[in-house]
Amino acid sequence: MVKVCQSTIIDAPIDEVWAILRDFNGHDRWHPAIAFSEIEGGEPVDAVGSVRHFRLKDGGESREQLLALSDKDRRLSYCLLEAPLPLMGYVASVRLKPVTDGNATFWEWRSEFHPPAHRRDELVKLVTESIYQAGFAAVRNLLRRRSTGSLVEQRTPRAAVAPVPSASISRVASTTDQAATTRAIVVERYGGPEELQLRVIGLPPPAPNEVQIRHTFVGVNFIDVYCRTGYFDLLQPPGVPGMEAAGVIEAVGSAVSGFSIGDRVAYACPPVGAYAERRNMAPELLVSLSDDISDEIAAAGLLKGVSASFLLHDVHAVKPGEIVLIHAAAGGVGQLLVQWARHLGATVIATVSSDEKARIVERLGAHHVIVYSRENFAEAVMRLTNGAGADVAYDAVGNDTFAGSLAALAVRGHLISFGQASGPVGSWDIGQFSSKSITISRPNYAHYTDTPEKLGPHINRFFAALRQGVIRIGVPRQYNLAQAADAHRDLETRNTTGALVIKV
C-alpha cells in the first residue's frame, strides 16, 4: 500500500474554500483534469453514499463514492469505484483547517491505495501532481478570479504572512479557465539560493505565436545567479529563472510555422523561465536538435557554446599564434574556450583555482596552466611570454582578476570582461589604458544572439565544432528540479567543473 499526502495554504477564508470542496459534484468546475461530472440516481450531492460519475479530459471515465462528509471538521472522504487506472483500493480524504493568523486555509489531501508494483512510482506521481497539486492550483486560481473580479493582482497584507500561495505567485499562473499546471522554481524576491523555491504554477495553452515545450534538461548558468540576485533585471519577481534548456514540443500555437509537436528543440535565450517542467515561448530562437546531439549535451552546452563562439569569433577574432589568457578555465565556458582557442591555433594560458582543476584544463589542451591561488598570474603570463603579455584575456571572474588581466596584456592587447563571478570590476580611469593601448570589451549575450540572423551562425559553428570533436562537453553534473538551490550554491562557491544541468 502507498500513502500520498499533499498540503498547501490557500489565501482565502476557510468557509470559501470549503464551499467549493464540499460540493462532491463540483470538481468539474475547478479541477483541470475533469471534463464533466454528475451524481448518479439524482441523489443529493451531500448525501453520504452518493456516487459521482465523471469523465476526464483525456476521455477516461471514473466513479467515486462519498464515504464521509463533515461540516464540523470540514473533512470529506471518498473512494474510487471504477477508474481507467489501477488505483486499487483508493480511499482519499480532504480536510481543511483555518489559519487564524491571516485568515487563510490549510488544505490537506491524502489517500491510500494499492498500485501494481511496476506502476507504483508513476501512479504516485500522477496522484501527487496531476490530481492533488493541480487541484490546489486550480482552486487558488478560481478564488483569485472571484476575489479580484479581474486578472489584476491584488496583494493583501496576509499574502506576506502565508508563505506558500501568495497572490503574487498566481500572477505567474494561468488565467485560463481550464488551467493546467507545471512544477517550476519560482523566485519570489531577489536574494540567495534559498529564494529558489519549488512550486506548482499555472501554465496556459500556448498563445498563437508560441509553442509549449516539455523540458528534459535545463542548463544552469551563472547568469541565472545574476537574475536571482537582481544584478540583472531579466527576471522580475515573482518569476521563473533559467535561459537554457532542451526538450520536446508538446503544443504549437495556431500562428506558428516550422515546428511540430514532437520536435526536439533547445534554446539559450531570454525571456527567463527555463527552471520548469514545461513552458511556453516564442519559437524564433529555438534550435532544432539533430539525432546526434543529445538533450543533455544541448542543455549543458548551448548557452556556453554560443558564448564561446561569439567570444572567439566576433568579440575578438582569435588568430593563429595569438597568446590567449583564459580565466576560470575549468568552468563551463572556460573549458570550451580552452579547447576552441587551441583549435584556432592560439597559445592558451589558462588560470584555475586548484591543482585538480589544473589537471582537467591540461587534459583539454591548455599550453600553460596557472593556479592563481598560489602564483601571481600576471607575473606568470609575462614570464611565459618572455615579457610580451597576452594578446587577448577572457575574464569572467571580475573583481579578483580584472587588474591582473590588465597587467598581463600585451601592447594593443584586448581584455574581454564577460562576467563578474567574484564581484563587479569597479571603476577605472581609462587614461591609464594608453600605457599599452588597451581595448576593453564588455559583451552582452543578448546583443550577439537576439535574432535568428545573429544566432544562426553561432549555432551552426557550435554544433559543427561538437561533431568534429573540436570541443567536447564533459558529462554535466546533474540535479533535479528541487535541488536548484544546491546547484546555485555549488556554482557560486566555485565547487564545480564543467556544466551543471537540472534533469527534469
Binding site: C5, Q6, S7, I9, V99, T100, D101, F106, Q133, P163
Partner: protein
C-alpha cells in the same frame, strides 16, 4: 467549557519546528513573554507527567503538567496546575502539521477551560492573542520571518 483555537504558518520544515516545540522546558527560547523555565524534581522534559514551572516577564508564575507528547503526531498536550489567569480544567494542545507545498509547517494551538462567565471573553482574547498568537509569532521569528 470555553475553547480557544489559533493557528499560524511557520516558515520551516515541521521536523525543524518540532525540535523547538517538543522541548517542554524550552518556552524561553521562543515565547517572547517567558523569562525562565525549569522542570520540577529534575525530571526529563519529555517525561509524561513532568511539571514545567516558568516565570513570565511580567512576573507571573505558571505550573503546567505534560499530559501527552507524540513524536509521531508532532503534538504536545498539557494542563495548567497553577496560574494567575483563574482558569479551571485547562487543557491545551500544540500540534504541528507539515505543509508539503513549500515544505513549511502549520502550527495549531488550542485550549479548553472553564471560567467565570463574565471573564470568558477577556480570557479568550488574552489566551488566544496575547499568549498563543504571540508565541507562534515568536516561533516564526525564530525561523527568520
Amino acid at each position: 467549557m470555553t475553547k480557544v483555537y489559533v493557528s499560524s504558518v511557520i516558515p520551516a520544515p515541521a521536523a525543524e519546528v518540532w525540535k523547538l516545540v517538543r522541548n517542554f522546558n524550552g518556552l524561553p527560547g521562543w515565547a517572547p513573554f517567558v523569562a525562565e523555565s525549569r522542570i520540577e524534581h529534575n525530571a526529563q522534559a519529555d517525561q509524561i507527567g513532568c511539571i514545567r514551572n516558568f516565570t513570565l516577564k511580567d512576573g507571573g508564575r505558571i505550573r503546567e503538567r505534560l499530559l501527552a507528547l507524540s513524536d509521531y503526531d508532532l503534538s504536545c498536550s498539557y494542563a495548567i496546575l497553577e496560574s494567575p489567569m483563574a482558569v479551571e480544567n485547562y487543557v491545551a494542545t500544540l500540534s504541528l502539521t507539515p505543509i508539503t507545498d513549500g515544505n513549511v509547517t502549520l502550527a495549531e494551538w488550542q485550549a479548553e477551560f472553564d471560567c467565570e462567565p463574565d471573564r470568558e471573553a477577556a480570557l479568550v482574547q488574552q489566551i488566544g492573542d496575547s499568549v498563543f498568537q504571540t508565541a507562534l509569532t515568536g516561533l516564526k521569528h525564530r525561523f527568520g520571518r
